[in-house]
Protein backbone atom coordinates (compact mmCIF):
# COMPACT_ATOMS: atom_id res chain seq x y z
CA UNK A 1 0.00 0.00 0.00
CA UNK A 2 1.50 3.27 -1.09
CA UNK A 3 1.41 6.20 1.29
CA UNK A 4 -0.69 9.04 0.05
CA UNK A 5 -0.25 12.67 1.03
CA UNK A 6 -2.52 13.78 3.88
CA UNK A 7 -3.25 17.09 2.18
CA UNK A 8 -3.95 15.73 -1.29
CA UNK A 9 -5.58 17.99 -3.86
CA UNK A 10 -6.91 15.82 -6.63
CA UNK A 11 -6.50 17.34 -10.10
CA UNK A 12 -8.39 15.88 -13.05
CA UNK A 13 -5.92 15.87 -15.94
CA UNK A 14 -7.72 16.25 -19.25
CA UNK A 15 -6.23 15.04 -22.47
CA UNK A 16 -6.72 16.37 -25.99
CA UNK A 17 -8.35 14.25 -28.71
CA UNK A 18 -4.77 13.47 -29.77
CA UNK A 19 -4.04 12.04 -26.32
CA UNK A 20 -1.76 14.79 -25.04
CA UNK A 21 -2.10 16.52 -21.69
CA UNK A 22 -4.50 19.49 -22.10
CA UNK A 23 -3.04 22.97 -21.62
CA UNK A 24 -5.38 23.59 -18.66
CA UNK A 25 -3.31 21.16 -16.55
CA UNK A 26 -0.53 23.67 -15.86
CA UNK A 27 -2.81 26.16 -14.10
CA UNK A 28 -4.73 23.45 -12.24
CA UNK A 29 -1.56 21.81 -10.86
CA UNK A 30 -0.16 25.21 -9.86
CA UNK A 31 -3.43 26.12 -8.10
CA UNK A 32 -3.41 22.75 -6.34
CA UNK A 33 0.20 23.09 -5.20
CA UNK A 34 -0.71 26.38 -3.53
CA UNK A 35 -3.21 24.65 -1.21
CA UNK A 36 -1.82 21.16 -0.74
CA UNK A 37 -0.12 18.29 -2.54
CA UNK A 38 -1.26 18.00 -6.13
CA UNK A 39 -2.15 14.49 -7.22
CA UNK A 40 -3.17 14.10 -10.84
CA UNK A 41 -5.75 11.71 -12.22
CA UNK A 42 -5.18 10.66 -15.82
CA UNK A 43 -7.69 8.54 -17.70
CA UNK A 44 -5.98 7.66 -20.97
CA UNK A 45 -5.94 5.21 -23.83
CA UNK A 46 -3.93 2.04 -23.17
CA UNK A 47 -0.21 2.79 -23.21
CA UNK A 48 -0.61 6.55 -23.03
CA UNK A 49 -0.45 7.22 -19.29
CA UNK A 50 3.33 7.33 -18.93
CA UNK A 51 3.72 10.29 -21.30
CA UNK A 52 0.85 12.17 -19.63
CA UNK A 53 2.33 11.46 -16.17
CA UNK A 54 5.75 12.75 -17.23
CA UNK A 55 4.24 15.96 -18.56
CA UNK A 56 2.12 16.37 -15.40
CA UNK A 57 5.16 15.82 -13.18
CA UNK A 58 6.99 18.55 -15.07
CA UNK A 59 4.05 20.80 -14.21
CA UNK A 60 4.13 19.91 -10.51
CA UNK A 61 2.11 16.73 -9.97
CA UNK A 62 3.46 14.90 -6.89
CA UNK A 63 2.11 11.70 -8.40
CA UNK A 64 -0.33 10.65 -11.08
CA UNK A 65 -3.01 8.04 -10.58
CA UNK A 66 -3.47 6.45 -13.98
CA UNK A 67 -6.35 4.56 -15.49
CA UNK A 68 -5.81 3.10 -18.94
CA UNK A 69 -9.03 2.22 -20.68
CA UNK A 70 -10.72 2.21 -24.05
CA UNK A 71 -14.07 3.08 -22.44
CA UNK A 72 -13.54 6.84 -22.81
CA UNK A 73 -13.51 6.39 -26.58
CA UNK A 74 -17.03 4.98 -26.65
CA UNK A 75 -18.78 6.28 -23.52
CA UNK A 76 -19.32 9.92 -22.61
CA UNK A 77 -18.32 11.26 -19.15
CA UNK A 78 -19.12 8.18 -17.03
CA UNK A 79 -15.74 6.37 -17.30
CA UNK A 80 -13.91 9.50 -16.10
CA UNK A 81 -16.39 9.94 -13.24
CA UNK A 82 -15.95 6.31 -12.17
CA UNK A 83 -12.18 6.86 -12.14
CA UNK A 84 -12.53 10.11 -10.21
CA UNK A 85 -14.78 8.46 -7.64
CA UNK A 86 -12.19 5.67 -7.17
CA UNK A 87 -9.34 8.19 -6.85
CA UNK A 88 -11.26 10.31 -4.34
CA UNK A 89 -12.13 7.24 -2.27
CA UNK A 90 -8.44 6.29 -2.19
CA UNK A 91 -7.02 9.75 -1.39
CA UNK A 92 -9.70 11.51 0.66
CA UNK A 93 -8.59 14.79 -0.96
CA UNK A 94 -9.23 18.22 0.55
CA UNK A 95 -10.42 19.44 -2.83
CA UNK A 96 -10.95 18.22 -6.37
CA UNK A 97 -9.91 20.64 -9.12
CA UNK A 98 -11.33 20.26 -12.62
CA UNK A 99 -10.97 22.49 -15.66
CA UNK A 100 -14.08 24.51 -16.49
CA UNK A 101 -14.12 22.97 -19.96
CA UNK A 102 -17.03 21.20 -21.60
CA UNK A 103 -15.77 17.77 -20.51
CA UNK A 104 -14.53 19.04 -17.16
CA UNK A 105 -17.92 20.51 -16.22
CA UNK A 106 -19.65 17.22 -16.95
CA UNK A 107 -17.13 15.20 -14.96
CA UNK A 108 -17.27 17.63 -12.00
CA UNK A 109 -21.07 17.82 -12.07
CA UNK A 110 -21.62 14.07 -12.13
CA UNK A 111 -18.95 13.45 -9.51
CA UNK A 112 -20.39 16.07 -7.15
CA UNK A 113 -23.91 14.70 -7.59
CA UNK A 114 -22.74 11.12 -7.07
CA UNK A 115 -20.73 11.78 -3.93
CA UNK A 116 -22.82 14.61 -2.52
CA UNK A 117 -19.76 16.87 -2.46
CA UNK A 118 -20.41 20.62 -2.68
CA UNK A 119 -19.32 22.19 -5.95
CA UNK A 120 -17.93 25.66 -6.69
CA UNK A 121 -17.98 26.64 -10.35
CA UNK A 122 -15.95 28.85 -12.66
CA UNK A 123 -13.40 29.75 -9.97
CA UNK A 124 -10.55 32.06 -10.91
CA UNK A 125 -8.37 30.80 -8.08
CA UNK A 126 -8.24 28.81 -4.85
CA UNK A 127 -6.69 29.40 -1.46
CA UNK A 128 -6.73 27.90 1.99
CA UNK A 129 -7.58 29.34 5.40
CA UNK A 130 -7.88 27.77 8.86
CA UNK A 131 -11.17 26.18 7.94
CA UNK A 132 -10.22 24.70 4.61
CA UNK A 133 -10.19 25.36 0.91
CA UNK A 134 -11.73 28.51 -0.55
CA UNK A 135 -12.70 29.07 -4.18
CA UNK A 136 -12.52 32.60 -5.58
CA UNK A 137 -15.01 33.76 -8.15
CA UNK A 138 -15.47 36.73 -10.40
CA UNK A 139 -19.19 37.36 -10.78
CA UNK A 140 -21.42 39.23 -13.26
CA UNK A 141 -18.69 39.99 -15.73
CA UNK A 142 -16.10 40.83 -13.07
CA UNK A 143 -18.28 43.43 -11.32
CA UNK A 144 -18.06 41.45 -8.06
CA UNK A 145 -15.71 39.04 -6.37
CA UNK A 146 -16.97 36.26 -4.14
CA UNK A 147 -15.43 33.42 -2.14
CA UNK A 148 -17.07 30.08 -1.51
CA UNK A 149 -16.28 27.08 0.65
CA UNK A 150 -17.70 23.72 1.70
CA UNK A 151 -19.42 23.56 5.09
CA UNK A 152 -17.49 20.31 5.53
CA UNK A 153 -15.86 17.66 3.38
CA UNK A 154 -14.03 18.13 0.11
CA UNK A 155 -14.93 20.94 -2.28
CA UNK A 156 -15.18 20.23 -6.00
CA UNK A 157 -13.98 23.26 -7.96
CA UNK A 158 -14.17 23.96 -11.68
CA UNK A 159 -11.43 26.43 -12.55
CA UNK A 160 -11.76 28.94 -15.40
CA UNK A 161 -9.27 28.18 -18.14
CA UNK A 162 -6.41 30.64 -18.32
CA UNK A 163 -7.29 32.22 -14.96
CA UNK A 164 -4.32 30.82 -13.04
CA UNK A 165 -1.02 32.28 -14.27
CA UNK A 166 1.18 30.64 -11.65
CA UNK A 167 3.23 27.57 -12.47
CA UNK A 168 4.39 24.90 -10.01
CA UNK A 169 7.92 23.50 -9.81
CA UNK A 170 8.60 20.23 -11.59
CA UNK A 171 8.71 17.06 -9.51
CA UNK A 172 9.99 13.56 -10.16
CA UNK A 173 7.64 11.34 -12.13
CA UNK A 174 5.55 9.02 -9.98
CA UNK A 175 2.93 6.90 -11.70
CA UNK A 176 0.48 4.71 -9.82
CA UNK A 177 -2.06 2.50 -11.56
CA UNK A 178 -5.57 2.96 -10.18
CA UNK A 179 -8.11 0.17 -9.98
CA UNK A 180 -11.57 1.24 -11.06
CA UNK A 181 -14.82 -0.64 -10.82
CA UNK A 182 -17.26 0.54 -13.48
CA UNK A 183 -20.40 2.02 -11.91
CA UNK A 184 -22.60 0.90 -14.77
CA UNK A 185 -24.25 4.34 -14.80
CA UNK A 186 -26.08 5.02 -18.06
CA UNK A 187 -24.03 7.04 -20.52
CA UNK A 188 -24.32 8.49 -23.99
CA UNK A 189 -22.41 6.67 -26.72
CA UNK A 190 -19.64 8.48 -28.58
CA UNK A 191 -20.19 7.68 -32.27
CA UNK A 192 -17.25 9.60 -33.67
CA UNK A 193 -14.72 12.28 -32.76
CA UNK A 194 -13.16 14.68 -35.18
CA UNK A 195 -10.23 16.76 -34.07
CA UNK A 196 -10.51 20.25 -35.50
CA UNK A 197 -7.72 20.57 -38.00
CA UNK A 198 -5.24 23.25 -36.96
CA UNK A 199 -5.73 25.75 -39.75
CA UNK A 200 -3.13 28.10 -38.37
CA UNK A 201 -0.43 28.31 -35.78
CA UNK A 202 -2.51 30.82 -33.82
CA UNK A 203 -3.01 30.14 -30.13
CA UNK A 204 -6.38 28.98 -28.91
CA UNK A 205 -8.63 31.76 -27.64
CA UNK A 206 -9.28 30.15 -24.26
CA UNK A 207 -6.25 30.63 -22.09
CA UNK A 208 -4.39 32.83 -24.63
CA UNK A 209 -1.92 35.37 -23.24
CA UNK A 210 -2.82 37.89 -25.94
CA UNK A 211 -6.09 38.34 -27.77
CA UNK A 212 -6.95 40.59 -30.71
CA UNK A 213 -10.71 40.89 -31.26
CA UNK A 214 -12.71 42.49 -34.03
CA UNK A 215 -16.25 43.83 -34.09
CA UNK A 216 -18.89 45.11 -36.43
CA UNK A 217 -16.55 48.00 -37.26
CA UNK A 218 -14.51 45.73 -39.51
CA UNK A 219 -17.38 45.85 -41.98
CA UNK A 220 -17.05 42.51 -43.74
CA UNK A 221 -15.60 39.02 -43.49
CA UNK A 222 -12.87 39.99 -45.98
CA UNK A 223 -11.86 43.05 -43.99
CA UNK A 224 -11.83 41.01 -40.78
CA UNK A 225 -8.49 39.69 -42.10
CA UNK A 226 -6.96 42.85 -40.60
CA UNK A 227 -7.73 41.47 -37.12
CA UNK A 228 -6.00 38.21 -38.00
CA UNK A 229 -3.02 40.08 -39.40
CA UNK A 230 -2.49 42.00 -36.16
CA UNK A 231 -3.06 38.82 -34.14
CA UNK A 232 -0.33 37.08 -36.11
CA UNK A 233 2.02 40.03 -35.66
CA UNK A 234 1.54 39.70 -31.89
CA UNK A 235 1.30 35.92 -31.67
CA UNK A 236 -2.22 36.45 -30.34
CA UNK A 237 -5.47 34.52 -30.53
CA UNK A 238 -8.35 35.91 -32.59
CA UNK A 239 -11.56 36.93 -30.87
CA UNK A 240 -14.73 38.67 -31.97
CA UNK A 241 -17.75 40.46 -30.62
CA UNK A 242 -21.16 38.87 -30.93
CA UNK A 243 -22.07 41.47 -33.58
CA UNK A 244 -19.16 40.31 -35.75
CA UNK A 245 -20.16 36.68 -35.28
CA UNK A 246 -23.82 37.39 -36.03
CA UNK A 247 -22.77 39.28 -39.16
CA UNK A 248 -20.89 36.16 -40.28
CA UNK A 249 -17.38 37.64 -40.25
CA UNK A 250 -16.01 34.77 -38.13
CA UNK A 251 -17.25 31.45 -36.69
CA UNK A 252 -19.03 31.52 -33.32
CA UNK A 253 -16.09 29.75 -31.64
CA UNK A 254 -14.30 33.12 -31.67
CA UNK A 255 -16.99 34.96 -29.73
CA UNK A 256 -15.75 36.68 -26.59
CA UNK A 257 -18.27 37.73 -23.99
CA UNK A 258 -21.09 36.80 -21.72
CA UNK A 259 -22.34 34.09 -24.05
CA UNK A 260 -19.04 33.22 -25.71
CA UNK A 261 -15.62 32.60 -24.27
CA UNK A 262 -14.51 34.53 -21.19
CA UNK A 263 -10.85 35.45 -21.46
CA UNK A 264 -8.37 37.07 -19.08
CA UNK A 265 -5.23 37.60 -21.15
CA UNK A 266 -2.25 39.85 -20.44
CA UNK A 267 -3.24 41.95 -23.45
CA UNK A 268 -6.63 42.41 -25.10
CA UNK A 269 -6.92 44.56 -28.21
CA UNK A 270 -10.47 45.47 -29.27
CA UNK A 271 -10.82 46.68 -32.86
CA UNK A 272 -14.07 48.22 -34.03
CA UNK A 273 -15.88 46.88 -30.98
CA UNK A 274 -18.28 49.24 -29.23
CA UNK A 275 -18.02 47.33 -25.97
CA UNK A 276 -21.57 46.35 -25.07
CA UNK A 277 -21.80 45.08 -21.49
CA UNK A 278 -22.10 41.48 -22.73
CA UNK A 279 -18.77 41.79 -24.49
CA UNK A 280 -17.06 43.53 -21.59
CA UNK A 281 -18.26 40.76 -19.29
CA UNK A 282 -16.02 38.35 -21.19
CA UNK A 283 -12.85 40.42 -21.35
CA UNK A 284 -12.61 43.06 -18.66
CA UNK A 285 -10.47 40.91 -16.40
CA UNK A 286 -7.71 41.31 -19.03
CA UNK A 287 -4.61 42.87 -17.50
CA UNK A 288 -4.21 45.45 -20.29
CA UNK A 289 -6.87 46.61 -22.70
CA UNK A 290 -6.26 48.58 -25.90
CA UNK A 291 -9.17 49.79 -28.02
CA UNK A 292 -9.53 51.38 -31.44
CA UNK A 293 -12.93 52.72 -32.43
CA UNK A 294 -14.32 55.50 -34.60
CA UNK A 295 -16.95 56.46 -32.04
CA UNK A 296 -15.39 58.53 -29.21
CA UNK A 297 -18.36 57.62 -26.98
CA UNK A 298 -18.01 53.85 -27.43
CA UNK A 299 -18.25 52.21 -23.98
CA UNK A 300 -15.15 50.13 -24.69
CA UNK A 301 -13.09 53.26 -23.92
CA UNK A 302 -14.41 53.20 -20.34
CA UNK A 303 -12.39 50.05 -19.66
CA UNK A 304 -9.45 50.62 -22.02
CA UNK A 305 -6.00 51.38 -20.64
CA UNK A 306 -5.12 52.88 -23.99
CA UNK A 307 -7.76 53.99 -26.46
CA UNK A 308 -7.46 55.49 -29.91
CA UNK A 309 -10.41 57.25 -31.47
CA UNK A 310 -9.83 56.61 -35.13
CA UNK A 311 -10.29 54.41 -38.16
CA UNK A 312 -9.11 50.82 -37.63
CA UNK A 313 -8.16 50.67 -41.32
CA UNK A 314 -5.52 53.36 -40.89
CA UNK A 315 -4.48 52.85 -37.25
CA UNK A 316 -4.01 49.07 -37.37
CA UNK A 317 -1.84 48.85 -40.51
CA UNK A 318 0.39 51.54 -38.97
CA UNK A 319 0.57 49.52 -35.74
CA UNK A 320 1.45 46.36 -37.68
CA UNK A 321 4.29 48.08 -39.54
CA UNK A 322 5.55 49.68 -36.32
CA UNK A 323 5.70 46.21 -34.74
CA UNK A 324 7.44 44.80 -37.82
CA UNK A 325 9.91 47.68 -37.70
CA UNK A 326 10.72 46.86 -34.10
CA UNK A 327 11.29 43.16 -34.65
CA UNK A 328 13.65 43.85 -37.54
Amino acid sequence: MTDHPADAILVVLETTPAGELASSAAGLLAAASGIGTPVGLAVTAPGASQAVAERAAALGAERVLAVETTATQSELTVPQVDALAAAAALLAPHAVLVSNSIEGRDIAGRFAARTGAPIAVDAIGVSRDDEGVLAHHSVYGAAYTADSAATFGPLVVTVRQGAVDARADARPVALEALEVTASGAASAAIESVEAVAETSSRPELRGAKRVVSGGRGLGSAEQFALVEELADALGAAVGASRAAVDAGYVPASHQVGQTGVAVSPQLYIALGISGAIQHRAGMQTAKNIVAVNKDPDAPIFDVADFGVVGDVFTVVPQLISALAERSR
Binding site: P17, L76, T77, V81, R105, D106, I107, A108, G109, R110, A112, A113, R114, G116, I119, V121, D122, S138, V139, Y140, A142, A143, T145, A146, S148, A150, L155, T158, A188, A189, I190, E191, S192, E194, A195, V196, A252, T259, A262, Q266, L267, I277, Q278, V290, D302, V303, A304, D305, F306, G307, V308, V309, G310, D311, T314, V315, P317, Q318, A322, L323
Partner: protein, 258 residues
Amino acid sequence: MKIIVLVKEVPDTYGERKLDLETGLADRAASEAVLDEIGERALEVALAHADAHADTEVVVMSMAPESAATTIRKGLAMGAGSAVHIADPGLAAADLGLTARTLAAAIQRTGFDLVITGNLSTDGSGGVMPAMLAELLEVPNATALTSVEIADDAVSGTRGVDGGTMRVRAPLPAVVSITEALPDARFPNFKGIMAAKKKPFETLSAADLGIEPEDLSVPVSIMTAVAEKPPRTAGTKITDEGDGGTRIAEFLIENRLV
Protein backbone atom coordinates in the same frame (compact mmCIF):
# COMPACT_ATOMS: atom_id res chain seq x y z
CA MET B 1 -42.79 11.87 -25.87
CA LYS B 2 -42.61 14.06 -22.81
CA ILE B 3 -39.95 16.77 -22.90
CA ILE B 4 -39.10 18.90 -19.86
CA VAL B 5 -37.28 22.13 -20.62
CA LEU B 6 -35.49 23.83 -17.74
CA VAL B 7 -35.68 27.60 -17.87
CA LYS B 8 -34.21 30.21 -15.60
CA GLU B 9 -35.07 33.75 -14.70
CA VAL B 10 -31.91 35.84 -14.79
CA PRO B 11 -31.08 39.54 -14.48
CA ASP B 12 -31.08 41.09 -17.95
CA THR B 13 -27.49 41.32 -19.18
CA TYR B 14 -28.43 44.52 -20.99
CA GLY B 15 -28.80 46.28 -17.66
CA GLU B 16 -26.67 46.58 -14.56
CA ARG B 17 -26.64 43.42 -12.45
CA LYS B 18 -26.15 43.57 -8.70
CA LEU B 19 -25.32 41.26 -5.86
CA ASP B 20 -26.62 41.99 -2.39
CA LEU B 21 -23.45 42.62 -0.39
CA GLU B 22 -25.12 41.44 2.85
CA THR B 23 -26.40 38.09 1.66
CA GLY B 24 -24.30 37.48 -1.45
CA LEU B 25 -27.50 36.69 -3.34
CA ALA B 26 -28.65 38.25 -6.57
CA ASP B 27 -30.37 41.57 -5.96
CA ARG B 28 -33.49 40.78 -7.94
CA ALA B 29 -34.93 44.25 -7.50
CA ALA B 30 -31.89 45.95 -9.01
CA SER B 31 -32.35 44.80 -12.57
CA GLU B 32 -35.03 43.64 -14.93
CA ALA B 33 -35.65 39.91 -14.82
CA VAL B 34 -35.84 38.01 -18.08
CA LEU B 35 -35.99 34.42 -19.23
CA ASP B 36 -32.42 33.37 -19.94
CA GLU B 37 -31.98 33.33 -23.71
CA ILE B 38 -30.25 29.96 -23.78
CA GLY B 39 -33.27 28.43 -22.00
CA GLU B 40 -35.51 29.94 -24.65
CA ARG B 41 -33.40 28.26 -27.31
CA ALA B 42 -33.71 24.97 -25.42
CA LEU B 43 -37.49 25.46 -25.41
CA GLU B 44 -37.38 26.14 -29.16
CA VAL B 45 -35.74 22.73 -29.72
CA ALA B 46 -38.63 21.08 -27.87
CA LEU B 47 -41.32 23.16 -29.58
CA ALA B 48 -39.87 22.50 -33.04
CA HIS B 49 -40.04 18.78 -32.28
CA ALA B 50 -43.62 19.17 -31.03
CA ASP B 51 -44.57 21.02 -34.25
CA ALA B 52 -43.54 17.97 -36.26
CA HIS B 53 -44.71 15.31 -33.78
CA ALA B 54 -48.24 15.87 -32.47
CA ASP B 55 -47.86 13.42 -29.56
CA THR B 56 -45.16 15.56 -27.92
CA GLU B 57 -45.80 17.09 -24.52
CA VAL B 58 -43.59 20.03 -23.58
CA VAL B 59 -43.27 21.11 -19.93
CA VAL B 60 -41.29 24.16 -18.81
CA MET B 61 -39.79 23.85 -15.35
CA SER B 62 -37.99 26.31 -13.12
CA MET B 63 -36.83 26.63 -9.55
CA ALA B 64 -37.16 30.32 -8.71
CA PRO B 65 -38.80 32.73 -6.25
CA GLU B 66 -42.55 33.19 -6.49
CA SER B 67 -42.01 36.49 -8.32
CA ALA B 68 -40.60 34.60 -11.31
CA ALA B 69 -44.00 33.12 -12.23
CA THR B 70 -44.62 35.82 -14.87
CA THR B 71 -41.30 35.11 -16.52
CA ILE B 72 -41.93 31.34 -16.52
CA ARG B 73 -45.35 31.95 -18.03
CA LYS B 74 -43.60 33.31 -21.11
CA GLY B 75 -42.61 29.71 -21.82
CA LEU B 76 -46.28 28.79 -21.93
CA ALA B 77 -47.00 31.72 -24.24
CA MET B 78 -44.26 30.49 -26.56
CA GLY B 79 -46.01 27.14 -26.80
CA ALA B 80 -45.16 24.83 -23.89
CA GLY B 81 -48.17 22.80 -22.73
CA SER B 82 -47.69 23.21 -18.99
CA ALA B 83 -45.36 24.69 -16.40
CA VAL B 84 -43.90 23.47 -13.11
CA HIS B 85 -42.58 26.17 -10.78
CA ILE B 86 -40.69 25.16 -7.66
CA ALA B 87 -41.01 28.21 -5.41
CA ASP B 88 -39.92 28.00 -1.79
CA PRO B 89 -38.31 30.70 0.36
CA GLY B 90 -36.21 27.94 1.95
CA LEU B 91 -34.51 27.42 -1.40
CA ALA B 92 -33.48 31.07 -1.87
CA ALA B 93 -29.84 30.40 -1.00
CA ALA B 94 -29.71 26.88 -2.43
CA ASP B 95 -26.29 25.78 -3.66
CA LEU B 96 -25.86 23.73 -6.82
CA GLY B 97 -26.21 20.42 -4.96
CA LEU B 98 -29.52 21.34 -3.34
CA THR B 99 -30.76 22.84 -6.61
CA ALA B 100 -29.89 19.64 -8.47
CA ARG B 101 -31.60 17.43 -5.89
CA THR B 102 -34.71 19.60 -5.94
CA LEU B 103 -34.93 19.77 -9.73
CA ALA B 104 -34.27 16.03 -10.05
CA ALA B 105 -37.12 15.32 -7.62
CA ALA B 106 -39.46 17.58 -9.58
CA ILE B 107 -38.42 16.00 -12.90
CA GLN B 108 -39.07 12.51 -11.48
CA ARG B 109 -42.43 13.61 -10.16
CA THR B 110 -43.47 15.11 -13.52
CA GLY B 111 -42.11 12.19 -15.55
CA PHE B 112 -39.93 12.60 -18.64
CA ASP B 113 -38.42 11.09 -21.74
CA LEU B 114 -36.05 13.95 -22.37
CA VAL B 115 -34.78 16.93 -20.37
CA ILE B 116 -33.38 19.86 -22.38
CA THR B 117 -31.41 22.70 -20.78
CA GLY B 118 -29.12 25.49 -21.90
CA ASN B 119 -25.40 24.75 -21.61
CA LEU B 120 -24.56 27.77 -19.44
CA SER B 121 -26.71 30.40 -17.75
CA THR B 122 -25.71 34.02 -18.17
CA ASP B 123 -25.69 34.65 -14.42
CA GLY B 124 -24.01 31.61 -12.90
CA SER B 125 -21.96 30.39 -15.88
CA GLY B 126 -21.49 27.10 -14.07
CA GLY B 127 -22.67 24.68 -16.72
CA VAL B 128 -22.66 21.70 -14.35
CA MET B 129 -26.40 21.29 -13.78
CA PRO B 130 -27.17 19.03 -16.79
CA ALA B 131 -24.53 16.49 -15.73
CA MET B 132 -25.61 16.68 -12.06
CA LEU B 133 -29.22 16.00 -13.05
CA ALA B 134 -28.24 13.11 -15.33
CA GLU B 135 -26.34 11.50 -12.46
CA LEU B 136 -29.21 11.93 -9.99
CA LEU B 137 -31.82 10.76 -12.52
CA GLU B 138 -29.58 7.80 -13.49
CA VAL B 139 -29.78 8.63 -17.21
CA PRO B 140 -27.16 9.55 -19.84
CA ASN B 141 -26.02 13.13 -20.37
CA ALA B 142 -25.22 14.64 -23.77
CA THR B 143 -24.13 18.21 -23.21
CA ALA B 144 -23.14 21.25 -25.25
CA LEU B 145 -24.95 20.03 -28.35
CA THR B 146 -24.69 22.25 -31.41
CA SER B 147 -27.28 20.15 -33.26
CA VAL B 148 -29.99 17.88 -31.87
CA GLU B 149 -31.99 15.07 -33.47
CA ILE B 150 -34.76 13.58 -31.38
CA ALA B 151 -36.01 10.10 -32.30
CA ASP B 152 -38.63 7.97 -30.52
CA ASP B 153 -36.08 6.05 -28.50
CA ALA B 154 -32.92 8.15 -28.60
CA VAL B 155 -31.46 11.62 -28.88
CA SER B 156 -28.33 12.33 -30.86
CA GLY B 157 -26.32 15.34 -31.87
CA THR B 158 -23.02 17.01 -32.44
CA ARG B 159 -21.08 18.60 -29.62
CA GLY B 160 -18.18 20.93 -29.83
CA VAL B 161 -15.51 19.77 -27.42
CA ASP B 162 -12.19 21.43 -26.69
CA GLY B 163 -10.10 20.68 -29.76
CA GLY B 164 -12.71 18.98 -31.89
CA THR B 165 -16.28 17.90 -32.51
CA MET B 166 -18.01 14.75 -31.41
CA ARG B 167 -21.13 12.85 -32.51
CA VAL B 168 -23.03 11.38 -29.57
CA ARG B 169 -26.19 9.35 -29.14
CA ALA B 170 -28.08 8.59 -25.95
CA PRO B 171 -30.99 6.22 -25.45
CA LEU B 172 -34.01 7.88 -23.84
CA PRO B 173 -34.65 8.92 -21.17
CA ALA B 174 -31.74 11.36 -21.18
CA VAL B 175 -30.61 14.87 -20.26
CA VAL B 176 -29.18 17.10 -22.98
CA SER B 177 -27.91 20.67 -23.00
CA ILE B 178 -27.68 22.88 -26.06
CA THR B 179 -25.50 25.82 -27.08
CA GLU B 180 -26.14 29.13 -28.80
CA ALA B 181 -25.54 27.42 -32.14
CA LEU B 182 -29.19 26.26 -31.99
CA PRO B 183 -31.80 28.54 -33.58
CA ASP B 184 -33.28 31.60 -31.90
CA ALA B 185 -36.53 31.05 -30.07
CA ARG B 186 -39.89 32.03 -31.50
CA PHE B 187 -41.71 35.07 -30.13
CA PRO B 188 -44.93 34.47 -28.25
CA ASN B 189 -47.84 35.77 -30.31
CA PHE B 190 -51.12 37.20 -29.02
CA LYS B 191 -52.91 33.87 -29.38
CA GLY B 192 -50.13 32.18 -27.45
CA ILE B 193 -50.25 34.76 -24.67
CA MET B 194 -54.03 34.35 -24.32
CA ALA B 195 -53.79 30.55 -24.41
CA ALA B 196 -51.04 30.58 -21.77
CA LYS B 197 -53.52 31.86 -19.18
CA LYS B 198 -55.50 28.63 -19.41
CA LYS B 199 -52.57 26.23 -19.39
CA PRO B 200 -51.72 24.12 -16.31
CA PHE B 201 -49.28 25.94 -14.02
CA GLU B 202 -48.18 23.90 -11.04
CA THR B 203 -46.40 25.52 -8.10
CA LEU B 204 -44.49 23.19 -5.79
CA SER B 205 -42.75 23.67 -2.46
CA ALA B 206 -39.62 21.86 -1.30
CA ALA B 207 -41.79 19.79 1.05
CA ASP B 208 -43.98 18.68 -1.89
CA LEU B 209 -40.84 17.13 -3.32
CA GLY B 210 -39.62 15.60 -0.07
CA ILE B 211 -36.69 18.02 0.01
CA GLU B 212 -35.41 19.40 3.34
CA PRO B 213 -33.56 22.61 2.43
CA GLU B 214 -31.84 23.02 5.77
CA ASP B 215 -30.55 19.52 6.25
CA LEU B 216 -27.26 20.20 8.03
CA SER B 217 -26.05 16.63 7.63
CA VAL B 218 -25.43 17.31 3.95
CA PRO B 219 -22.32 19.33 3.06
CA VAL B 220 -23.09 22.44 1.04
CA SER B 221 -21.18 25.16 -0.70
CA ILE B 222 -21.54 28.52 1.03
CA MET B 223 -20.44 32.00 0.13
CA THR B 224 -17.93 33.24 2.67
CA ALA B 225 -17.30 36.69 1.21
CA VAL B 226 -18.62 38.98 -1.47
CA ALA B 227 -17.31 42.36 -2.54
CA GLU B 228 -17.99 44.84 -5.28
CA LYS B 229 -14.98 45.41 -7.43
CA PRO B 230 -14.10 48.99 -8.13
CA PRO B 231 -15.07 49.57 -11.75
CA ARG B 232 -12.21 49.47 -14.17
CA THR B 233 -11.16 52.99 -14.90
CA ALA B 234 -10.44 54.38 -18.31
CA GLY B 235 -6.81 55.05 -19.07
CA THR B 236 -5.42 57.24 -21.81
CA LYS B 237 -7.70 58.08 -24.72
CA ILE B 238 -6.29 59.86 -27.76
CA THR B 239 -7.76 60.87 -31.07
CA ASP B 240 -5.85 59.57 -34.07
CA GLU B 241 -3.93 62.36 -35.72
CA GLY B 242 -2.08 60.17 -38.13
CA ASP B 243 0.11 58.53 -35.46
CA GLY B 244 -2.51 56.35 -33.67
CA GLY B 245 -0.88 53.07 -34.69
CA THR B 246 2.58 54.22 -33.64
CA ARG B 247 1.24 55.42 -30.29
CA ILE B 248 -0.30 51.98 -29.61
CA ALA B 249 3.03 50.35 -30.50
CA GLU B 250 4.76 52.68 -28.02
CA PHE B 251 2.22 51.82 -25.32
CA LEU B 252 2.77 48.09 -25.89
CA ILE B 253 6.55 48.46 -25.76
CA GLU B 254 6.50 50.67 -22.65
CA ASN B 255 4.37 48.14 -20.83
CA ARG B 256 6.45 45.20 -22.03
CA LEU B 257 3.50 43.68 -23.84
CA VAL B 258 5.44 42.92 -26.98
